[in-house]
C-alpha cells in the first residue's frame, strides 16, 4: 500500500505530540479506540473559558501511519477554533486532506470521535465545577 505524501509528512513530523496536565480544569481529555483494534488515540485540548477558544492541543496515538496522521492533523485544526467550531469538524474532511484510502477511513472517524470525547470531558469538568459549592 502506498501512503500519501501528506500522511508520510505527518508521520515523520507529527505536530503537537505530548500531554497537557489532566487535572487542569480547562483541559479536556478524549481517549478513544481499543488496543484490540490496533487503534487508540488520546487527544487533549486546553480551552480559554472566557471565549471558548481552543488555545492548545496535544495528541498521542497507538495505530498505523494513517491514524497517527489523522490525529496529528486534528491537533493542528482545532487550535484557534472555538469549541463549537471544533465540533463541526467531519471525518470526511480529514479523509480528503490526507488522501486516505477506503480501508483507512476508520482512522479519520476515530480522530473525529477523539475531538468530541475531549470536548465532552471538558464540558463535564465545567458542569462539575459549577455544581461545586464554594
Amino acid at each position: 500500500m502506498v501512503y500519501s505524501e501528506k500522511v508520510l509528512e505527518h508521520y515523520r513530523n507529527p505536530r503537537n505530540v505530548g500531554s497537557l496536565p489532566k487535572d487542569d480544569p480547562n483541559v479536556g481529555t478524549g481517549l478513544v479506540g481499543a488496543p484490540e483494534c490496533g487503534d487508540v488515540m488520546k487527544l487533549q485540548i486546553k480551552i480559554n473559558p472566557e471565549n471558548d477558544v481552543i488555545e492548545d492541543a496535544r495528541f498521542k496515538t497507538f495505530g498505523c501511519g494513517s491514524a497517527i496522521a489523522s490525529s496529528s492533523l486534528v491537533t493542528e485544526w482545532v487550535k484557534g477554533k472555538t469549541v463549537a467550531e471544533a465540533l463541526e469538524i467531519k471525518n470526511t474532511e480529514i479523509v480528503k486532506e490526507l488522501d486516505l484510502p477506503p480501508v483507512k477511513v476508520h482512522c479519520s472517524v476515530l480522530a473525529e470521535d477523539a475531538i468530541k470525547a475531549a470536548i465532552a470531558d471538558y464540558r463535564k469538568k465545567q458542569t462539575g465545577a459549577a455544581a461545586e459549592t464554594p
Binding site: 488496543p35 490496533g38 480501508v103
Partner: protein, 402 residues
C-alpha cells in the same frame, strides 16, 4: 562493503532467485524450449531429460524417488491436490480430515470447501508455543479419518511441529499423512522415510527458485497413496496433474534444490547465528519485546516479535528501508490481526504490534546490525507517541473499550 538499501528481510514471503538458478534456467527459454511431452523430436527429448534431471534433484533433497514427485504451479496447488485428491479418492473409506488451527490458508480454505461438500474437519488447537498436542491428535483419529494434514514449519512464526512423531502416529492408525513443508524444505533436513510422511507440498520460490513452480511428493511404497487429480486434460504427471510442464521453472527448481542440499547445513548455522544476534540486539536495547512461538522448535532464520505499545504497520512505515511484514491487519478489510498469533493466545493488542523477520541467503551481518539499530530507534520514537506506553509507565490499565 557498503550497505545496499532497501534491505530485504522478508524471506518467508518470497526469496530472490539465486543467480546460479537463473543461469541454469535461461537456455530452456530460447534454446531447449521444447515441450517435454513432445515424443517425436530432439526438442522434446531434451526438455524431458532436463525435467527428469530436476525431478531427481528434488526427490534427493527429501529422500524420495523421482517417480514420487509431481510438478504443480506451487505449494498452494500442491495443498489443494493433496487434500482434495485424497478426499475424493478415499470417499468410500471415510469423510473425516484432521488439520490444525495455524495452517496456511491454502490448507484451511481447502478444508473449508470440503466441509461444504459434507466432509468433517477437526482443527487441532496449538499451545502458547505454537505446537499441537500429540494426545489431541491421537484422540481425534476415528475409523473414518482419511487424512491428517499438519505443516512442518509455520510461515508466520517459524515454529516446527513434531513431524516424525505425527508420522509415526499416522502410520500406526493407517491414516495418510500430508505435510505442507514449503518453509522447511531446503532450510532444514527433511526425509520422507524418517518422518513417515505420505504427501509433501513444496514450493520453489521460498528456496531461491522461481515463482510459479512447486511439487507434491506422493508416496508409492509402504503404502502407495492414490490421488484423484484436480486438473484434467492430457494426463501428464502420471495422470495426477495435467498441463504442459513449466520446463524452465522445473529446471530452476531442481537447481535450487541441488544448491540447498549442498549449502543447507552451513547456511542454516550462519542464519541461526544472525537470527540470534538480531533477537539479542533488540531485547537488550528495548524492554517489553516478546518472541511469538517456541524458540527451541523453530526455523533457524525466523523471528517473530511483538513490540508492546507500538502498532506494527506504523513501525514498518518508520523502518521503510527494510522489507519486513507485520501481524497487524491494518491493511485488511477487517480489523482482525493474525489468526496464527490469535491461536497462540497472543492478546490482540500485542498481535497488532508484531513484526516478522525472515533472514535469508543474501542477508549479511552488517544488514542485521543496521536493522537492530533502525528498529530500536523507531520503536523508541513511536513509544513516545503512544498513549499506551504512557499509561503503562504510569501504571494505568487501559479499559477494554472506550
Amino acid at each position: 562493503m557498503a550497505l545496499k538499501l532497501p534491505i530485504y528481510m522478508d524471506n518467508h514471503a518470497t526469496t530472490p532467485v539465486d543467480p546460479r538458478v537463473v543461469e541454469a534456467m535461461l537456455p530452456y527459454f530460447t534454446v531447449h524450449f521444447g515441450n517435454a511431452a513432445s515424443r517425436n523430436h530432439s526438442f522434446g527429448w531434451e526438455a524431458e531429460k532436463a525435467v527428469e534431471n530436476a525431478r531427481a534433484q528434488i526427490a534427493s533433497l527429501i529422500g524420495a524417488t523421482p517417480k514420487e514427485i509431481i510438478f504443480t504451479s506451487g505449494a498452494t496447488e500442491s495443498d489443494n491436490l493433496a487434500i482434495k485428491g485424497v478426499a475424493e479418492m478415499y470417499r468410500e473409506k471415510g469423510d473425516h480430515i484432521i488439520t490444525m488451527a495455524i495452517e496456511h490458508k491454502a490448507v484451511l480454505d481447502t478444508c473449508k470447501r470440503l466441509q461444504k461438500y459434507g466432509y468433517r474437519i477437526t482443527y487441532l488447537p496449538v499451545n502458547s508455543e505454537g505446537l499441537i498436542d500429540l494426545d489431541d491428535l491421537r484422540r481425534a483419529i476415528t475409523p473414518r479419518t482419511i487424512l491428517i494434514s499438519i505443516m512442518y514449519a509455520n510461515n508466520e512464526i517459524g515454529v516446527l511441529q513434531p513431524i516424525a512423531e505425527i508420522g509415526k502416529l499416522a502410520k500406526e492408525y493407517g491414516v495418510p499423512f500430508h505435510s505442507d513443508a514449503t518453509q522447511a524444505v531446503g532450510k532444514i533436513p527433511f526425509d520422507v522415510e524418517q518422518f513417515n510422511v505420505d504427501l509433501v507440498s513444496l514450493s520453489a520460490h521460498k528456496m531461491y527458485g522461481p515463482k510459479g513452480i512447486g511439487a507434491l511428493y506422493v508416496r508409492r511404497r509402504n503404502p502407495r497413496v492414490q490421488l484423484a487429480p484436480i486438473i484434467d486434460g492430457g494426463g501428464h504427471e502420471r495422470g495426477m496433474r495435467s498441463g504442459t510442464l513449466n520446463v524452465p521453472g522445473i529446471v530452476g527448481f531442481g537447481k535450487a534444490c541441488e544448491i540447498a542440499a549442498a549449502e543447507m547445513a552451513s547456511e542454516g548455522e550462519r542464519l541461526r547465528r544472525l537470527r540470534d544476534k538480531l533477537r539479542h540486539g533488540l531485547q537488550s536495547q528495548l524492554d517489553e519485546v516478546y518472541v511469538n512461538g517456541s524458540l527451541e522448535h523453530r526455523l533457524p532464520h525466523n523471528l517473530n516479535m511483538s513490540f508492546a505499545y507500538v502498532e506494527g504497520e506504523s513501525l514498518l512505515m518508520g523502518i521503510n528501508d527494510v522489507a519486513l511484514s507485520s501481524g497487524s491487519a491494518c491493511t485488511s478489510a477487517t480489523l482482525e490481526p493474525s489468526y496464527v498469533l490469535k491461536a497462540l493466545g497472543v492478546g490482540e493488542d500485542l498481535a497488532h504490534t508484531s513484526i516478522r523477520f525472515g533472514l535469508g541467503r543474501f542477508n549479511t551481518e552488517e544488514e542485521v546490525d543496521y536493522v537492530i539499530a533502525r528498529v530500536t530507534e523507531v520503536v523508541k520514537r513511536l513509544r513516545e507517541l503512544s498513549p499506551l506506553y504512557e499509561m503503562a509507565k504510569e501504571g494505568i490499565a487501559l479499559k477494554k473499550k472506550m
